[in-house]
Structure formats: C-alpha cells, structure tokens
Amino acid sequence: MSPNMSLQSKPASQRASTPWDAWRDWVRSHSEMLLGYSFVAPALLVVGAVMVYPILFNLNIATRKWDWSTPFDAPKPFVGMANFADLIASDRFVNSLKVSLLLVLFALLVEYILGLGLALILNRQFRGRRIFRTIFILPMVLAPIIVGIQWRYLLSGNFGIINYVMFQLGVDPPAFLSDPKYGLPILVLVDSWMYVPFVSLILLAGLQQIPQEVQEAAEVDGAGSLARFWNITLPLLGSSTAIVLLLRGTEIFRTFDVVYVLTGGGPGRSTEVLGILLYRIAFGEGNFGMAAALAVIISILGMVIGGLFLRFIRTETRLF
C-alpha cells in the first residue's frame, strides 16, 4: 500500500505486464493522492468516531423509547417522532427556548455595545498596552467552572462581598441567586464579564483596518464625529461585526458550564437554558430518547441562528 514500496523501476516494455505490475504503476502514479488520504485518515477516523457516528446514532436514539425503565441491554422500542412531539408540547421546553433566546439577545446586545465602546477607547497608542491586554483576556481564559464559582461566591446572600458593599451604600441588596427575577440578568452579566474584552479585541482589529484617509476626508468635508462614526466607522466594521455576532451568538446559545455551577438552572426554571434542560432530561431523569430529540432541535436551531446572522449581516469573509 505504501507509495514508495519499490523504488527500482523496470524497463518500460515489462511494465504493466502482470496485474501486480499494473497495481504498482497505479500506486506510483497516484502517490500524491494516496499520501493525502493516509495523512487525513487518522484525523478523520477520530472525528468520525467521536462526532460523525454519534450524530447518526443520536438520530436513532431520538426515535426510540430509551430511558431508565428499560434494561440496558434490552432492545429499545421504536416510537417515531413521539419524543419530539412530547418535548415540543412540554412547558419546560418552551421555557428553555425562551430563556436561551433571550440570553442570546441580551448578552449579544450588551457585549456588542460595551465591546465597541472599549474598542473605540483602545484604538490609540498608549503605554502599558500589553499589561492591560493581559488583564482583559483573563476572564476569557479562566475555566468557566471557576468563573461560575467566583460569581456564586461574590453574589452569595450570606457572605457575598457585593451584598456587603450594597449594604454599605445604603441599598437593600436583592437576593441575587434565589430570586427568579435576577436569573437571566445575572447570566447576561457573567457572560458579558467574560467576553466583552474578546468582542472589543475583534472590533479593535477591524477598526485598525479602516484607512485613516477615509476618516480625514470626511472630516474635511465637514462630517462631525458622530456622523463619521455612524456613516463610516460602523459600516466599515460590517465584517468584524458579522464575525463577532456569529461567534458569540452561537457560543452563548450553547452556554452550559457557567450556568451549571452558578445557578444550576434555577431559581425555579429562570436560567434553565436548553443545554441545562438536555443535561437534566438525560442525566437527571435518564430519558435518553427525549434528550436526543432535544439535541436534534438544538442543532437545527443553532444552524438557523448561525444562518440568520450570516444572512442579515452582509459579509465577504472567506471564513464560513
């Protein structure tokens, strides 16, 4: 099979005289192709086993009654689309869908506005650039689990520093982690804390690609700073905006870790995003069939959200 099995070539007259020779010639003339396949094979094998096959297997699970009431080795009865129907009809699916979409919407809004503001401020030369960048990246590279622990600790009602500071300022602190009203805002807060610097990093790179001459020309023509921002900066940031909204939108939609430690989906179901709902159905209640159906729905929604961003915000990137 190896392309350089035999390096001694035979006279042309003898070539392809036997099937073996024909095979060897074929291998030699297709060596680039064979090398290509053998180089991509290990990666494709791993990805195929861990991602592609499980996707197909998941479709199989989704159409079966597969839960802890049936023995592990017993065949699981085929139920068609029943899992999907039951799931879509359930209140908690509707609730989770709403929570996830609201989280995407509000977190994106906050992160984009604050990120753009920060990018505009940072778009200049200044001393200490490196050290500030290091600090700004910290929230993003810390483990999400640790971020969740941090904020749970800060927001604690019994000994949390935020409550204490609010007391000192004469404000009666709300029960951040036990009042359903604050569930979603806290997720928005923590996600923004983690990713505003990332958004500003991408937008800053976009800002630096805007030619200075364009801005100067507009200034000469009498455009005020607000008009320049609105008519030049924002439109020219179009592709950076598209990328950042796409990356963050799909990431926020799949939030899991931070919610798991910070609120666990509560209080009530106020932070039960789709990922947490799937986890609860699968590993809390053991209903793998329904969880698999939810996985299919999440994938489709994820693709729709990604597609919407791409459609609404025109972009000429080579990326996607």
């Binding site: 499980p54 490196r130 483990a143 689990i145 640790i146 000994f159 990093l201 950076s240 990326l319």
Partner: protein, 299 residues
C-alpha cells in the same frame, strides 16, 4: 529632537503634568475595567488563605486575618496517613494534567498530518472533507453528550482517561487542521520543490520543511488546545464518574453539590486549577491572542 522634547526641556514638570492630566481620564477608565476583570479572581485568591470561619463572617474581611495555608494542604490532601482526602481535587489535578497533555500532543500530530494534506496535497474530495470538518467545528458539544455516553458505556470506556483524550482530540482537531492548512499554504511552494529535488520525499518535507517553519502556528494550537482541554467541563462531567478519570473542573463542581459548600478548600482548588492558565496567559499571551482572533481578523 521634536517639539515635545523641547517643551519638556523648557519646563519638564509642567509638560509631564499636562501629559498626566490628558491621560488621567483614559487610564482611570482602563484601571476601572482592569479592576472589574481582576477583582473576582483576587477575591477568590484572598479567600483561599482564610479559615472557613472567616469566610462566613459578617461583615466580610478583605485581607485574611490569619494567613493560613491549610486550605491548600487540604486541597492537595497533604494529610496524615490513613485519613480520607478532603476532596477529589488531587485526583482531578493528576487526571487533568495527563489528559490535557496527551490530547494536546495528539491534536498536534494528527492536525499537522491532515493540515499538510489539506493545504498542499491534491486528492479527490479534499474540499468536501475540509468543509465538513469546518461545519463539525460549529457543533455544540451538548448535542453529542447522550450518544457519546451510551457508546462509551458500550465499549467499556466510560469513566476512563482514554475516553476524554479521544473526545478532546476530536473536538479540537477541526480548528487545528484548518489553522495549519492555511498556514502551510502560505509557505512558499519553492521551498518544498527545492527539497524534493534534493531528495526529500513528499512525506518527509512535512517534518523537514513545514513543521520547522510553522512553530508559531504549532505553539498557538498547542496552547489553545491545552487551555480548552484543561478547562473543559461538559464531557468531563458526563463521561466520568469516579476519581479514576474525573478532571479538576468536575472535582471542583462536585464540591458544590454537598449540602454545605466548603468554600475554603474550594477557593484553594480554584486557584490551583488556574495556575497553568495564568502561567500561559503571562508567558504566551501573544499566541493566545493570535489563536483567539485567528479567522475573525483574517477574513
């Protein structure tokens, strides 16, 4: 030399003062943001040196009253022989180191091979395969948690380090393959041609020509892969159940499940788990930034 130097020579104090005032607002804002970014971790760090009693005290103390190392000793289970360790953190740290390092090496090796093939070799189907890989990159992990759990159980890999290594390798490969294929394409073809004339084979130009020229890209992939696997939680919590394979994030999260959270030990564990992350952030920040913004900025 320039106007600024001359004014500062004329009246250096006044010039410096003017510069300070002009920049004060700017730096004040930067410092405020930096404080917001840093404070949660600093608070955890300070708390990790407090006793459990002091952590629960009201009003809270800022600096530890009695600076104690006990929490770290507890978290690392440096206890008298025969006693049960306080938490699973020591096992978590060991498992995390092993799993993250092996995964990172596998991602680099498999990623370089496939990246070279996609970037430089011609074979039918390479475009379709590369695009499929890129689409898989967008797949949320939670979607595969159920089938992976069932499959892992079936092949007796549930609750092993191996299952996490394989899973992490697969999930980080698409990015590595893509980044390296783009990077390899930018290396001049003439270098490869010259090497081929000099007697290199198509297989040996990869280690001899491409890899030595791609050290920054390889470093970026290694660092991002290590961070991703070190911090990963979803598969770690669904595919492991005991201390034989659970990683640090799972060990930390499971401490919270107890009816009273042992904050003192947990904060120490959180700090220990962040040490490699902080080291990479300080010494390899360049690569992290490049990796995180790669593609987003490139387009």
């Amino acid at each position: 030399m320039t106007a600024t130097t001359r004014t500062s020579q004329a009246n250096p104090v006044l010039a410096a003062l003017g510069l300070v005032i002009r920049n004060a607002g700017f730096y004040l804002l930067l410092c405020t943001i930096a404080f917001i970014d840093l404070f949660p971790f600093i608070w955890i760090l300070l708390s990790s040196f407090k006793t459990q009693l002091e952590i629960f005290r009201w009003p809270p103390t800022f600096f530890p009253e009695n600076f104690v190392w006990d929490n770290y000793a507890d978290a690392l289970a440096l206890l008298p022989a025969g006693q049960q360790p306080v938490s699973d953190i020591p096992y978590g740290l060991t498992n995390s180191v092993v799993i993250s390092l092996i995964s990172t090496v596998l991602i680099l090796v498999l990623g370089a091979l496939a990246g070279y093939a996609f970037g430089r070799l011609r074979f039918p189907g390479r475009r379709v395969l590369l695009i499929s890989l890129m689409m898989l990159r967008m797949l949320p992990g939670i979607v595969l948690s159920v089938p992976l759990f069932i499959l892992a159980t079936r092949v007796n890999l549930f609750d092993t380090r191996a299952v996490l290594v394989i899973t992490y390798t697969a999930f980080n490969l698409p990015f590595a393959v893509w980044l390296l294929s783009v990077f390899f394409q930018e290396i001049p073809r003439e270098l490869e041609d010259a090497a081929l004339v000099d007697g290199c084979t198509r297989a040996s130009v990869l280690p001899r020509i491409y890899l030595p020229l791609s050290l920054p890209a390889l470093a970026t992939i290694a660092i991002l892969s290590f961070l991703a696997t070190w911090n990963e939680f979803l598969f770690a919590v669904t595919l492991t159940s005991s201390k034989t394979a659970k990683t640090t994030p799972v060990a930390l999260a499971s401490m919270q499940a107890a009816f009273q959270t042992r904050w003192a030990v947990m904060t120490a564990g959180a700090v220990l788990a962040s040490v490699p992350v902080l080291l990479l952030l300080f010494f390899a920040q360049r690569y992290i930034v490049r990796g995180l913004t790669f593609g987003a900025v490139k387009g």
